[in-house]
């Protein structure tokens, strides 16, 4: 299972804070992003940062282990 997390403006546009997807062998962050962006195009318009298991990920080619937690995030506005 892959846990996908959304926060703030992205969660508003998806209409959910968490999605659970079946894990697929060899699936990359990019593959996951592509599939979700088709379902939630408005949310992914503003999702410019990605984290896997709580750490920033820049290489979207990285494959996802079963049980991963993936967050697609809008530009931060804390502080």
């Amino acid at each position: 299972m892959i846990n996908v997390l959304f926060f703030g403006p992205v969660a508003d546009r998806v209409g959910a804070a968490v999605l659970q997807l079946e894990h697929r062998q060899g699936w990359s962050v990019k593959d996951l992003r592509g599939e979700l962006a088709q379902r939630y195009p408005e949310a992914f318009d503003i999702a410019c940062f990605t984290a896997v298991d709580g750490a920033h990920v820049r290489d979207l080619g990285r494959t996802l282990d079963d049980g991963s937690e993936v967050a697609f995030m809008a530009k931060f506005s804390g502080g």
Binding site: L5, F7, G8, P9, A11, D12, F49, A51, G54, A55, H56, A71, M73, A74, K75, F76, S77, G78, G79
Partner: protein, 141 residues
């Protein structure tokens, strides 16, 4: 004693954080502090409150990493960072950064660096609640 890096719903006390910082060393000669507050106006609109959402686990680990980096980079004797989440009413505290060093330059430079980096790196989002409606804040590039 409270932890040096926290994300919390409750307000915090600047005096308590300064005291906790001082308790770490008697060699601190300069303390820098930045306190971010909720303004009642933002880009011409009246703001009654601000709602914060955060990726708590990641925000905490990013804040801890920021603190460690600041201590190493500026030779600090201590640093504390507290950020609120949930609803913050106009005029209330949002974020507090306190840094302690032997001399003033390091303390103030570190404070500035931490708040700048926090805004870039820490997964927290704010939504402004106004009489005309709510909107997520889009940071300037």
């Amino acid at each position: 004693m409270h932890k040096a890096v926290r994300i919390q719903y409750e307000d915090f006390s600047t005096d308590d954080e300064i005291e906790a910082l001082r308790a770490t060393s008697k060699r601190i000669g300069g303390i820098g502090l930045f306190l971010g507050c909720a303004r009642d106006f933002s880009e011409g609109r009246e703001v009654s409150e601000i709602d914060f959402d955060a990726y708590d686990r990641m925000a905490l680990s990013e804040l801890s990493a920021l603190r460690d980096e600041a201590i190493a980079r500026f030779g600090l004797m201590g640093a504390r960072i507290v950020h609120r989440v949930g609803t913050v009413t106009s005029g209330e505290n949002i974020v507090l950064i306190v840094t302690g060093a032997e001399h003033r330059a390091a303390a103030l430079d570190a404070c500035r660096w931490i708040i700048d980096e926090l805004k870039e790196r820490v997964p927290i989002w704010k939504k402004e609640i106004t009489p005309e409606g709510d909107s997520w804040v889009v940071p300037h590039p």
